[in-house]
């Protein structure tokens, strides 16, 4: 009886600490040890240099960038990286915009991909929370969809933006999965580690767009990639600093 009371008081204390200092403020020793044991999911590209070795389980990451800038290519590459050891990926896609062929070309194993198409914000949170709380997934990706659809008067049924996924943040810190959020804009109320994806240059030939070059940056680190509009191939161009040195 005494032990049960201590359990409840501890639960309340942890709840207060998390609400005041953030979800990552309190973690059990086993969770910390597990996080240290879990290796990061490395993509084998310059992206790892920006991410400090790769995306880590139990941590959120946002890919922020305007439409058609390469967010999805990067996200698919990260999903493929998290599947390298046979891990499962949950792709929560309220706008039904996932291109399966592009996913395969990015190296995603479809046998280890579960696609969830929730019809509302609550369903999105339900799916994300269930996937993060289970031990089954290595990555949970939430594609908030294009801004022109999800915002404004003609709001899409899912109506997601970065602030909407904030309830998932306390859950991901105790999870074995990484949370990847793909959105066009940063949240107004929610701050989470983010990579900015920006288009740098169009690749045109004979007046037709063949692809584009984009940068993925965090802090002072910029990784450059080129993507082909026809084949969705992602080419790693290296770090911007390296290119500057090479260019003299």
């Amino acid at each position: 009886m005494g032990g049960a009371t201590v359990d409840l008081r501890l639960a309340r204390a942890i709840s207060r600490a998390k609400s005041r200092f953030g979800a990552a403020a309190v973690a059990t020793g086993s969770v910390l040890e597990r996080r240290q044991r879990e290796r990061r999911f490395a993509t084998g590209t310059s992206l790892d240099l920006v991410l400090g070795g790769g995306i880590a389980p139990g941590e959120p990451l946002a890919l922020i960038g305007r439409g058609s800038c390469g967010k999805l290519s990067v996200a698919l590459r990260l999903a493929a990286a998290s599947q390298q050891d046979g891990g499962m990926v949950a792709w929560i896609d309220p706008c039904a915009s996932l291109d399966v062929v592009a996913a395969v070309r990015a190296g995603v194993d479809l046998d280890r991909l579960i696609i969830v198409r929730p019809g509302s914000r609550d369903d999105t949170l339900l799916a994300g929370a269930a996937a993060l709380r289970s031990d089954g997934f290595r990555m949970v990706a939430v594609d908030a969809g294009p801004r022109s659809i999800s915002a404004g008067a003609a709001r899409f049924a899912a109506g997601l933006d970065l602030d909407d996924v904030a309830p998932l943040l306390p859950i991901v810190h105790g999870s074995v999965a990484a949370l990847l959020v793909i959105a066009e804009t940063r949240g107004r109320r929610t701050a989470l580690p983010a990579l900015a994806v920006e288009r740098v240059a169009w690749d045109e030939r004979f007046g037709r767009t063949r692809g584009w070059t984009f940068s993925v940056s965090r802090g002072g680190a910029h990784a450059l990639f080129h993507t082909s509009a026809f084949s969705s191939n992602l080419t790693d161009l290296g770090m911007r600093e390296q290119l500057r040195v090479a260019a003299g």
Binding site: L8, G86, V101, L110, I114, V116, R133, G136
Partner: protein
């Protein structure tokens, strides 16, 4: 030799009678083995000081079974086979005891088909003029082995009363459960899930100790006002993993948790099965997570409805329209 094996036999016993009788015997004896449905072997060796002489135990056991409305017969002998034959020939509600020197005489006039022999062999023995166990027992053991094989040699040993007094006992069913009473009532779901962790850990520790996996969980939540709430969860695949069990309980609470102040809980693994070892990580370290992920997917499908949880495959990578390039199928298994 002192009779040491008691066989309890309930004629035409159904599952209910079988289970009740087994629980009754487990309550009084440490080593009880199941021979058949409604037939049990009880090892009485070394039990005299605890339960008295075998005859006294037999009377008590028959009386206890009668109180539960079960008519059973008990035979006590020095070997399981003789005791079983004796019990099968004892009227319900009675017990018989056979001393070791009387066993061969008891078996001798019985038909040879009482022994565990194939019908063809019984017929062959009949053609040879051997129709009773006594006649069969008089045959030289070596000749029986040479002519009729190993199975007949074993039956010959039984006819001689050479069987070892061994009972392959099964452990009594142990209730795997844990309880908590909370001084301060809980009303938030998250707090409830947190408080259930300790109970789940206790149940899991018992499961792991016994090498079992939970197939069905029963959860009772005691309310400050009103009667208790009861949940039952089927765990597929059966597991002794605390996270999986807690997740299942969380889902149950997410689906249905009425308002109220909860002051205690009791969790029991109501159905268990031996934990099967799985060879995981042979090809991929994360291979075991597939089952977990599919369980989550099925749960989400039940919550979100059809057409919401999908798996994809590429059917034509060169199709001009993206919707024709891939096929999405419902997650069902």
């Amino acid at each position: 030799m002192t009779p040491r094996i008691g066989v309890v036999h309930a004629r035409d016993a159904g599952i209910r009678v079988h289970t009740a009788l087994l629980e009754l015997l487990h309550a009084s004896l440490p080593r009880v083995g199941v021979l058949d449905q409604g037939t049990f072997a009880c090892d009485l060796r070394g039990m005299v000081r605890l339960i008295g002489p075998p005859g006294v135990w037999g009377e008590r056991a028959v009386a206890a079974a009668r109180r539960q409305g079960i008519g059973c017969a008990i035979g006590v002998a020095s070997a399981p086979f003789v005791a079983r034959v004796l019990a099968e020939r004892t009227p319900p509600g009675a017990n018989s005891e056979l001393s070791a020197d009387m066993e061969r005489a008891f078996l001798a006039p019985l038909r040879v088909n009482v022994l565990p022999l194939e019908a063809a062999l019984v017929e062959e023995l009949g053609l040879l003029g051997i129709r009773h166990i006594g006649e069969f027992a008089d045959l030289p053991a070596g000749a029986v082995l040479d002519r009729f094989g190993q199975a007949a040699a074993l039956a010959h040993a039984l006819a001689h009363g050479d069987e070892a007094p061994l009972v392959h006992a099964s452990p009594p069913r142990r209730r795997i459960r844990a309880r908590r009473v909370w001084d301060d009532p809980v009303h938030l779901r998250e707090q409830l899930v947190f408080a259930l962790r300790a109970v789940v850990d206790e149940v899991v520790a018992s499961l792991v100790r016994d090498g079992l996996a939970a197939l069905r969980l029963g959860l009772r939540l005691d309310r400050a006002e009103g009667g208790p709430l009861r949940f039952e969860r089927l765990i597929l695949p059966p597991t002794a993993n605390a996270a999986a069990l807690l997740r299942s309980l969380r889902w149950a609470l997410e689906e249905w948790l009425p308002e109220g102040q909860f002051v205690g809980c009791a969790l029991e693994a109501t159905e268990v099965e031996p934990a099967r070892g799985r060879q995981i990580g042979l090809f991929a370290p994360d291979g075991a997570r597939l089952e977990e992920a599919l369980a989550v997917a099925r749960h989400l499908r039940s919550r979100l409805g059809p057409g919401r949880v999908l798996r994809a495959e590429v059917v034509d990578a060169d199709a001009r329209l993206p919707e024709r390039a891939a096929q999405l199928t419902e997650v069902t298994s």
